[in-house]
């Protein structure tokens, strides 16, 4: 028996969960899929007195289209997102990314809310949410708030979430549908299923002349939080990409991240790598935008 002793509570509704959270805020932990938390409990890095198992709250398991975004209930499992036709059509970047999350056995249990709440900077979903400028719905007994990734992710494994708060829903903006839109998600990991050493995502929209009219770019795994590469987004607007422009973007990306080194890759390696990855993501997104054009035209 590895985890230390705790009292187990299993709410069946959001209200019940929030009441427990309020009451035991001093010493409780939420568990959903457990794919990140159980190892932490096993190693006794966390020893809560109360464990609140939210995995039975059925009202938080849904994927639906709302005005301008896809709303995903926090307790929806990765595998359910991976198999969703609605997401495939309206938010394909998320489908490309989610296949990189762990292995099948992990995606069968892990939840979307857990992936966001865990706040791992090398995790795929926080990077996608950042790229698309999505939102997170957080609730406590008293209030509900909607926050953006830039306010939610604070640093490595730390979010703005208070101990009496629950992540209820994640909102992924619907991606522009049309012939001149392309996206790309690239990752370098030691083996498929491992956390990425570096990840990059790009969404590009071209105008009638093939000039870039919108670019969304973000990176993960190389900074304490997922990072939008705003300068690069602005540089691309109104232009056609050239090798020189991509090189400039790769360099400025390497400069604005702050990676940590570990056994699997030094900080310098990751810094170099991320420039190359974002360059590749942009190239692939543009190639796909042209493919869409050909299909329609």
């Amino acid at each position: 028996m590895k985890p230390s002793k705790f009292k187990y509570l299993k709410p069946s509704s959001v209200n019940e969960a929030l009441t427990y959270l309020e009451e035991y805020a001093d010493d409780c932990k939420i568990i959903s899929g457990g794919q990140s938390l159980i190892p932490v409990l096993n190693m006794r890095l966390s020893t809560p007195e109360f464990l609140i198992d939210v995995s039975g709250i059925k009202e938080l398991n849904y994927i639906r289209e709302e005005d301008g975004y896809i709303a995903i209930g926090a307790l929806t499992r990765h595998v359910e997102v991976e198999n969703s036709l609605l997401i495939k059509e309206k938010c394909p970047l998320l489908i490309d990314a989610i296949k990189w999350v762990g292995h099948k056995q992990i995606r069968n249990r892990g939840t979307i809310g857990g992936s966001i709440a865990h706040g791992d900077p090398s995790a795929e979903l926080p990077c996608v949410l950042t790229t698309l400028r999505g939102e997170i719905v957080i609730a406590s007994v008293d209030e509900e708030e909607v926050v953006g990734p830039e306010d939610f992710f604070l640093t490595y494994l730390l979010t703005s979430l208070q101990t009496n708060q629950l992540v209820k829903e994640i909102r992924f903006p619907i991606m522009t549908q049309g012939e001149r839109v392309g996206h790309s998600f690239v990752e370098v990991a030691r083996r498929h299923g491992d956390f990425g050493l570096a990840i990059a995502a790009a969404v590009i929209e071209l105008d009638n002349q093939g000039l870039i009219q919108k670019a969304q770019l973000a990176v993960g795994g190389v900074n304490p939080v997922p990072l939008i590469i705003e300068e690069a987004e602005e540089l691309l607007i109104g232009k056609k990409v050239t090798e020189a422009l991509l090189k400039e973007i790769a360099e400025l990306t390497s400069e604005c991240v702050d990676p940590e080194g570990d056994l699997h890759g030094s900080a310098d390696y990751r810094r170099e790598l991320i420039g190359t990855l974002l360059k590749r993501a942009i190239e692939e997104a543009i190639a796909r935008a042209w493919e869409g054009e050909e299909k329609v035209g």
């Binding site: 457990g34 190892p39 198992d53 762990g102 292995h103 992990i106």
Partner: protein, 157 residues
């Protein structure tokens, strides 16, 4: 310590027990039910030796509390062979293709592949390799495990 009552279906039999909520599902299976076929390698989700089926889906037994399996249907490696010990086709393919040496990883591979072969009756080699990417084997080098999956899905090797 407060115990909680759980009842679940394990390998076709209804099981009911009072347990401590901190008991991991793997320890419940091995130490309460004496189903020691489910192996425990790393206990933090990395090796896949503990893979079981939870309501038909492959999951890590070590990343679940037994109490979270209340009401669920669990299948372990012990469910695969027939009553007389007759190996099922996947197990037979593992034997034929020498897909195990020490055998420590085998229960996890078999349970992962039970779900996989059911959902993918005709997989490509790439799909097979991706399917087993969450299971570690220190002996075989994986090639013979891939071969067994091809045999059981009736592909020429």
């Amino acid at each position: 310590m407060d115990k909680v009552n759980i009842s679940l279906n394990v390998n076709g039999e209804k099981v009911e027990r009072d347990i401590e909520p901190r008991l991991l599902l793997t320890d419940f299976l091995r130490e309460e039910l004496f189903l020691t076929g489910t192996h425990v390698g790393c206990e933090h989700g990395v090796c896949g030796a503990c893979t079981i089926l939870l309501n038909g889906e492959a999951v890590r037994g070590c990343l679940m509390l037994a109490v979270q399996a209340d009401g669920a249907t669990i299948e372990t490696v012990e469910s695969l062979a027939g009553e007389d010990g007759q190996l099922n086709p996947l197990q037979q393919a593992f034997t034929d293709c020498h897909s195990l040496q020490c055998g420590f990883c085998t229960p996890g591979f078999l349970m992962t592949l039970t779900q996989f072969t059911k959902e993918n009756p005709n997989p490509t080699e790439e799909e097979i390799r991706e399917a087993i990417s969450g299971n570690l084997c220190r002996c075989t080098g994986y090639a013979n495990i891939v071969k067994a999956v091809k045999q059981v899905t009736h592909q020429t090797v």
